[in-house]
């Protein structure tokens, strides 16, 4: 290590002290704001203090970690201990969707929502067993680096960059979108402005220090997000059941929910057809789609470059493996708490809203109704009078809230829990800071993955292999800025499909990367032609299925034999294809708009288009296998190289000049 990082050893040795001090400081800050609230400081001011204080801390870490060294910029000097890399990966992994959206999904779908909980955790087994440690031994800076070395150069590199870009760009746009939503809701600024404020926060963390800065800020962000996520439900659990372990006590809430579901149907507050029992499987997803989502999210985890590259930063292969285990442990802390949020909220809604006289509704509803996030009797519940009027307008309404009268946006579940529990505003501010940390940290990791692929793989490896260090890092930073602004600009237009695309990113990465990565490590006989053909075939089929079902469903029905998806309980088709295809309005709607009844409602074998990786990945494996066997075996050097990455001992295979 050169002089620039002298003192780095001290820093690594004192990580425990530094982050312990930081966590203590953060808690003291929360307590201080709580005291300020008691003295009558307005909520708006508390919200600003939370957001700007945490952003400032991330930015300071980002600036302190600036670097002029290539290996520091791309892989944090490969000095991040397993435990801390696990924390950073946790923050990298858990996005705004996990923090804010997951509990809401579980609230709405009950058991079926668990497909996401399982899918977004179990994939780490594949990361550790099949892929991660071997890439660490190889010594790459990026995933395309490995593809290029193993599969004969820049063509494979180019396809890998393409896969990386298509999987990561939509994903990062969704994160910046999430940042904008949270910042605008808690700071009251306009959404478009909030997007660019969030962007500034993201850039301050990553631009000067690359991977090194992102690593140390992600650890800080993890601490904020996990404290913010767990605090409200721990308090809630203690209040209701006297035990501060919500993950244990929500079993009682589930029993009460199940009992209440029966009562509601008997009392005519819900119809048996509309009620989805909380604990019963396969009311929303058919078993094929349920297990398909689990599989695609898991395999996608092991194929997403922004996750794989986190394991390039550990000091050894051994620590890379330990680090995957720590990563999942830190992710688990949040994911096994999400069902508790969902259960407590559902119990509150079922016992204190459904069945209650409309005139007796509790006031917390209306703050969210004003934002258009809670509807009663089909209208935004802006205040009590509006709700009463809306229900009166429905013929034969009994005057008490029925299940079908109540609609809640899934984001509200986590964000409203502090208020529902009657906690002071400071806890709400804490939750907002946590959501912001989740969105920022994921956006940082993704942006870095994209910009690194463009600067390292496309610019340095393909266009200008003789570029001096200074120019390489300059280009890397410029590209980071360009990609970030591009994503923020796209996010500020609120594109409708962007949230669905996060799910697609997993399938795309899985279809394009997974077969080539696994075969490249586990099968010496895999050849360049085979791998390139397999990547193109798998990725191509996945894209084809996505694009056809979403944007050209008419062609899917007419030319590719796609049929309507069905309701898993009744077996009835979700869309009447014959009728829709006969309507000239929908037939001419090409590419299909979001309103088109056919879009994403058709497919092969009743498969939702999020599962396109389930088609693409097996094809990828098959093509690599068949085409490889048709050609000559890889050279002895290549086979020796594969042997080399299978053994942890020794230098990394790829030696980058610094």
């Amino acid at each position: 290590m050169a002089t620039q990082t002298s003192g780095g050893g001290d820093f690594i040795n004192n990580l425990g002290k530094i982050y312990g001090f930081y966590a203590g400081g953060f808690l003291a800050f929360v307590v201080l704001l709580g005291i300020l609230e008691q003295f009558g400081v307005p909520n708006r001011v508390l919200g600003y203090l939370f957001v700007f204080f945490t952003l400032a801390v991330y930015a300071i870490i980002g600036v302190l970690s600036r670097t002029a060294q290539v290996s520091e910029y791309y892989v944090a000097g490969r000095r991040v201990p397993a435990f801390y890399n696990g924390m950073a990966t946790g923050a990298d992994w858990m996005s705004a969707a996990s923090f804010v959206g997951m509990a809401g999904t579980l609230f709405l779908l009950g058991y079926d929502g668990m497909a996401w909980v399982l899918g977004w955790t179990g994939g780490y087994v594949l990361v550790s067993v099949l892929v991660g440690p071997y890439l660490r031994k190889f010594g790459a800076y990026t995933v395309p680096d490995f593809m290029a070395y193993r599969f004969g150069g820049n063509f494979a590199r180019f396809i890998a960059v393409l896969v990386l870009f298509s999987a990561s760009f939509t994903y990062v746009t969704a994160q910046i979108y999430g940042t904008g939503i949270i910042a605008s809701r808690f700071l009251g600024m306009s959404f478009e402005l909030a997007v660019f404020v969030g962007l500034a926060g993201i850039l301050l963390c990553s631009m000067l220090g690359g991977m090194r800065a992102v690593t140390w800020t992600q650890i800080a962000q993890y601490i904020v997000l996990i404290v913010a996520y767990l605090t409200p439900i721990i308090i809630l659990s203690t209040k209701h059941y006297g035990i501060p372990i919500p993950q244990l006590t929500y079993g009682q809430a589930i029993a009460e929910i199940t009992a209440r579901e029966g009562q509601m149907v008997q009392a005519g507050l819900a119809t048996a057809a509309a009620l989805k029992p909380h604990i019963q499987p396969w009311f929303t997803y058919s078993p094929l789609n349920f297990f398909g989502i689990i599989f695609c999210m898991m395999v996608g985890t092991a194929s997403l470059p922004h996750i794989l590259m986190r394991y390039f930063t550990t000091p050894s292969v051994r620590e890379a493996r330990q680090s995957v285990a720590w990563s999942l442990f830190f992710i688990f802390l949040l994911y096994f708490s999400a069902p508790a949020y969902a259960a407590f909220s559902k119990l509150e809604v079922y016992s204190n809203i459904i069945g209650r006289d409309v005139t007796q509704l509790r006031p917390w509803l209306f703050t969210w109704g004003e934002l258009g996030l809670i509807k009663i009797c089909g209208q935004n519940a802006v205040n009590l009078d509006a709700a009463v009027a809306a229900c009166k307008a429905i013929a034969g309404h009994p005057g008490v809230v029925r299940l079908q009268d109540f609609v809640i946006n899934t984001d509200v579940i986590v964000l409203s829990t502090p208020e529902v529990a009657g906690l002071p505003y400071v806890i709400s501010g804490l939750v907002a800071a946590g959501g912001l940390a989740a969105a920022l940290s994921t956006a940082d990791g993704l942006l870095l993955a994209i910009a690194n692929a463009l600067s390292h793989d496309v610019y340095y490896k393909m266009l200008d292999p003789n570029a001096p260090t200074v120019r390489r890092l300059l280009i890397a930073r410029i590209l980071l800025l360009v990609v970030a602004i591009g994503a923020a600009t796209l996010a500020s237009t609120k594109p409708g499909d962007i949230l669905a695309m996060v799910g697609w990113a997993f399938s795309l990465a899985m279809a394009g990367n997974f077969p080539a990565l696994v075969m490249g490590i586990w099968w010496k006989r895999a050849t360049t032609t085979g791998a390139v053909a397999g990547m193109i075939a798998g990725f191509g089929l996945c894209i084809f299925y996505l694009v056809t079902t979403r944007y050209y469903p008419q062609a899917g029905v007419s030319y590719f034999g796609m049929k309507a998806l069905t309701n898993p309980v009744t077996g009835a088709p979700l869309v009447d294809i014959a009728k829709t295809m006969a309507d000239p309005k929908w037939l001419a709607d090409v590419p299909a708009s979001a309103a088109n009844p056919l879009q994403s409602k058709i497919g092969w074998f009743g498969m939702n288009n999020i599962l396109c990786g389930l088609l693409g990945m097996p094809l990828g494996f098959l093509v690599i296998y068949v085409v490889s066997l048709m050609g000559k075996a890889p050279s002895a050097e290549m086979q020796a190289f594969v042997d080399e990455i299978r053994k942890p001992r020794g230098r990394t295979v790829l030696q980058e000049k610094d």
Partner: protein, 86 residues
């Protein structure tokens, strides 16, 4: 640099371990959840077992499996002398 018999034995053991952990992954990721309706009839602390496995049980199994795997693979690497220096 041909593959030595030591390397081959190391890789054979590594491959076996890989299959064992993929088996655990398939069991806790998929098989146990296929029986969710039946497992839901067993209720512990209010949790129907089928629901519990998806919400917490499998997740705990994955975390434990990963720590165990890291240990086991390291033991294999040490046995064949291909582990990194401590």
């Amino acid at each position: 640099m041909a593959t030595s018999s030591n390397d081959e034995a190391h890789w054979k053991k590594t491959t076996n371990l890989m299959w064992i952990h993929l088996g655990i992954w398939v069991f806790f990721g998929y098989i146990v959840h296929m029986f969710a309706p039946a497992l839901n009839k067993i209720i512990i602390l209010g949790f129907p077992l089928g629901f519990y496995m998806a919400a917490q049980g499998s997740l705990i199994a994955f975390v434990v499996a990963l720590f165990v795997f890291a240990k086991q693979q390291d033991a294999i690497d040490r046995e064949f002398g291909v582990a990194e220096d401590d």
